[in-house]
């Protein structure tokens, strides 16, 4: 699984975002946005994060994950809907090409540093 690789990239961004002028910074929370269509297993991701942050200012930081539902839009009739059970066929006209509007997010939003 690729959760370790994704967690490592996230940790790299988080560590480089900590202001250099803070002595012994401790990070309380990391706010993330993860789309429901991404292939990330939350438990595995958190497990990997814990292992790789043992000796860093991110140790014990809480991962706050905002889950983003999968939304699609039909190019033919412009109908927008929440995709459930992997059904990407437009419920309006059943024939249009479908654009994915959300569900692929994999973003780090912010860090909360202990003061």
């Amino acid at each position: 699984m690729h959760e370790m690789g994704v967690a490592m990239q996230m940790v790299e961004i988080a560590l480089s975002s900590i202001p250099k002028n803070i002595n012994n910074p401790r990070i309380k929370k990391i706010n993330l946005k993860i789309g429901e269509l991404t292939a990330i297993v939350e438990d595995s991701f958190k497990f990997c994060f814990k292992i790789i942050t043992e000796d860093t200012p991110l140790k014990n930081a809480k991962l706050i994950i905002e889950s983003v539902p999968v939304k699609a839009q039909c190019q033919n009739c412009n109908h927008t809907w929440d995709v459930k059970n992997s059904v990407f066929t437009c419920p309006g006209c059943e024939k249009g090409t479908v654009d994915l509007i959300s569900g692929r997010e994999l973003e780090i939003l912010s860090l909360e540093i202990e003061e």
């Binding site: 699984m1 690729h2 370790m4 690789g5 994704v6 990239q9 996230m10 790299e12 961004i13 988080a14 975002s17 900590i18 202001p19 993330l32 269509l37 991404t38 292939a39 059970n85 992997s86 059904v87 990407f88 066929t89 437009c90 024939k95 249009g96 090409t97 479908v98 994915l100 994999l106 973003e107 780090i108 939003l109 912010s110 860090l111 909360e112 540093i113 003061e115």
Partner: protein
């Protein structure tokens, strides 16, 4: 104190993929990323495809596996340049990332190629998440795997531009419902072209070869 970041976690990979895409376009090469679960017949499909498109379409292959050079060895026998990436040197990654492609592509003479096919590591989950700088993605599903795979792995089938349904020569011996499988693929990706083939008997290859040749020529014409 809250530090605002608002950044894509895979930005480093996406940036490298963008760089790869630009480089491949400069070299006038169409790049296809082929993905599937292990054992779906990607390598055999490629071997038979190469036999049909070369030398008309000058092709190179990058193939990824955790270990062994078996696939590159098989592909080289068709006469094309094939580069093997083994991810055990990089922690046994289950997918090819953009930086691995950048490195591997340096060992190919892209100036002399029209088409680069990247055979990803067998896995229906992780490779779908990583842009490697390709022009199109193909997913291969074989009839020995089960009709519901597209519903179980929606990201892969949603990301793919075409689907290849392989090993159809085995249909008489299986309970596999071909109509149901195509219906499931189209449920996840309504407009996706589906090519039903047998890499063993070469049945059904014509529409797939036509798609491939047209895609390569369309890119060259635009440039």
């Amino acid at each position: 104190m809250e530090i605002n970041i608002q950044e894509k976690i895979l930005r480093a990979n996406d940036d490298m993929a963008c760089k790869n895409r630009k480089y491949f376009t400069e070299k006038k090469v169409f790049v296809l990323n082929m993905m599937s679960s292990p054992g779906s017949g990607k390598t055999e499909t490629l071997c038979k495809t190469l036999k049909k498109i070369t030398p008309e379409i000058k092709t190179g292959v990058i193939t990824g596996d955790i270990c062994t050079t078996n696939d590159a060895d098989r592909l080289k026998k068709t006469g094309v340049a094939a580069i093997q990436i083994n991810t055990d040197q990089f922690g046994g990654d289950c997918h090819l990332a953009a930086h691995l492609i950048e490195k591997a592509a340096q060992n190919l003479n892209l100036k002399n190629l029209d088409l680069l096919i990247i055979e990803n590591i067998g896995n229906l989950v992780c490779p779908a998440e990583f842009d490697i700088g390709e022009d199109a993605k193909a997913v291969v599903l074989s009839v020995t795997e089960g009709e519901d795979k597209p519903l179980k792995y929606p990201l892969m089938f949603q990301e793919a531009d075409i689907a290849i349904l392989n090993k159809i020569d085995l249909l008489p011996y299986l309970d596999f419902d071909l109509k149901e499988a195509v219906k499931n693929i189209k449920q996840v990706h309504p407009k996706i072209p589906v090519f039903e083939i047998s890499a063993k008997t070469e049945q059904g290859f014509e529409p797939w070869i036509k798609w491939l040749k047209t895609s390569v020529k369309s890119k060259l014409m635009v440039l």
